[in-house]
């Protein structure tokens, strides 16, 4: 893991390469380094980190920070397999314009993971070759992992509520 100082050095290099507005901040929490970036700069940032040795995109995550704004988040977990070193790249997008450049052209492994983030959270990855739902049926409405999505599923017939669903199984 980069330590807190190492993280600051990485952030400094990213700022030098892509401008001050590319990196919004850093977080070193429980020995885990994370760098917050501007959504539009994700491709360049990930490319720079790949040149530093973080060549393996381990996973792409979606998050919902409801009720904070910007609400939706995407995290990229990067791994340096020579140094056994990890770093998290985080970005946040608002709900009314949830667009992030897709990194699938550079990291083919992100293909299905970006589709899943789109399916579950509704983040739109621009430049993705085939942005369709991956888990839910294609005619499904809504993004079920958002925090404001209703929890409840189907009513279930048990002995105690049988009178409430008289024609349940028909």
């Amino acid at each position: 893991m980069p330590d807190a100082t190492g993280l600051e050095l990485i952030a400094q290099d990213l700022r030098a390469a892509h401008g001050d507005d590319a990196v919004l901040g850093t977080l070193f929490f429980r020995d885990k380094a994370a760098v917050d970036i501007a959504p539009a700069r994700v491709r360049e940032t990930l490319e720079s980190l790949r040149e530093r040795g973080f060549s393996f995109l381990a996973s792409v995550h979606g998050l919902d920070y409801y009720p904070e704004e910007p609400r939706l988040g995407v995290q990229y977990e990067l791994l340096d397999m020579y140094e056994v070193d990890r770093i998290t790249v985080r970005l946040r997008v608002p709900l009314d314009a949830p667009t992030v450049p897709s990194v699938t052209p550079q990291w083919p492994t992100a293909d299905h993971q970006e589709r899943e983030v789109y399916d579950m959270f509704g983040v739109i990855f621009e430049g993705h070759p085939d942005l369709r739902r991956i888990l839910m049926p294609e005619d499904y409405e809504g993004h079920p992992q958002r925090r404001d999505f209703p929890i409840g599923g189907e009513p279930v017939l048990f002995t105690h509520n049988e009178p409430r669903f008289p024609r349940y199984s028909q």
Partner: protein, 229 residues
């Protein structure tokens, strides 16, 4: 009615031998009169065709080879030596729904999988039965959320086996309950069992072809599936 128990014949083997000889005489046409009456009375069991058919069905169920989730592992183990489903003629898992008459829903059914399950059930031939195995396919279990539907919502289920997952013994108990159900009841088609007699299923579709025009060119009608009973 008074029930009495009597010893058969003088000794087991002799009795058996004499019945064998009588049967041979009857086949040769040598048996006549009261001896023939007695032989027929001793060797014929009367029943109804329905009961005989149910007896045959209940003791030779053909489950579909169809596993959905972790319950499927428990389902596989009922074929093993410990709870040997072969004792009740259910060990032949068929790889095609066309050859199966029992669908064991072993696991959670997601809303994406539900149409597939329903199609497999529709492809099975009558008479057919379904067992919802485990908490998920009966009541969605721990997954009461956007992803899972209970089996009763889209197909008729005969037996629900609770558990998460149910032990093989529990599934075996469910199969035996189903067997008892088949043996006890006269066979009704599923339309009668689930109040659907005189109904039919079809997909609302803009592609529906006029059934009369369809017959002229050999197309069976529209987006219709299933037939009316």
């Amino acid at each position: 009615m008074e029930v009495t128990r009597r010893q058969l014949g003088a000794g087991g083997m002799e009795e058996f031998r004499s019945r064998q000889l009588t049967a041979r005489q009857m086949l040769q046409g040598d048996l006549e009169g009261p001896a023939l009456d007695q032989h027929v009375e001793d060797s014929i069991l009367t029943t109804t065709l329905d009961r005989a058919a149910n007896w045959a069905r209940a003791n030779a169920m053909f489950p579909a080879t169809f596993g959905l989730a972790c319950c499927a592992i428990e389902m596989m183990s009922i074929v093993g030596a410990r709870v040997d489903v072969a004792r009740f003629g259910g060990e032949a898992f068929r790889a095609s729904p066309r050859q199966a008459d029992l669908l064991i829903l072993s696991g959670r059914i997601s809303i994406k999988m539900a149409p597939v399950v329903r199609r497999i059930y529709d492809q099975m031939i009558e008479p057919r039965w379904a067992i919802a195995m485990g908490a998920c396919s009966s009541s969605m279990g721990v997954f009461n959320n956007y992803a899972i539907v209970p089996a009763d919502k889209f197909m008729p289920v005969d037996v629900h086996v609770p558990g998460c997952p149910p032990r093989p013994e529990a599934l075996m108990h469910g199969i035996l309950r189903l067997r008892a159900m088949i043996l006890a009841k006269p066979d009704l088609s599923w339309r009668t069992r689930y109040g659907g007699r005189g109904t039919e299923e079809f997909i609302e579709s803009e592609l529906a072809i006029d059934p009369v025009a369809g017959h002229a060119v050999g197309i069976s009608g529209g987006g219709r599936m299933g037939t009316s009973a």
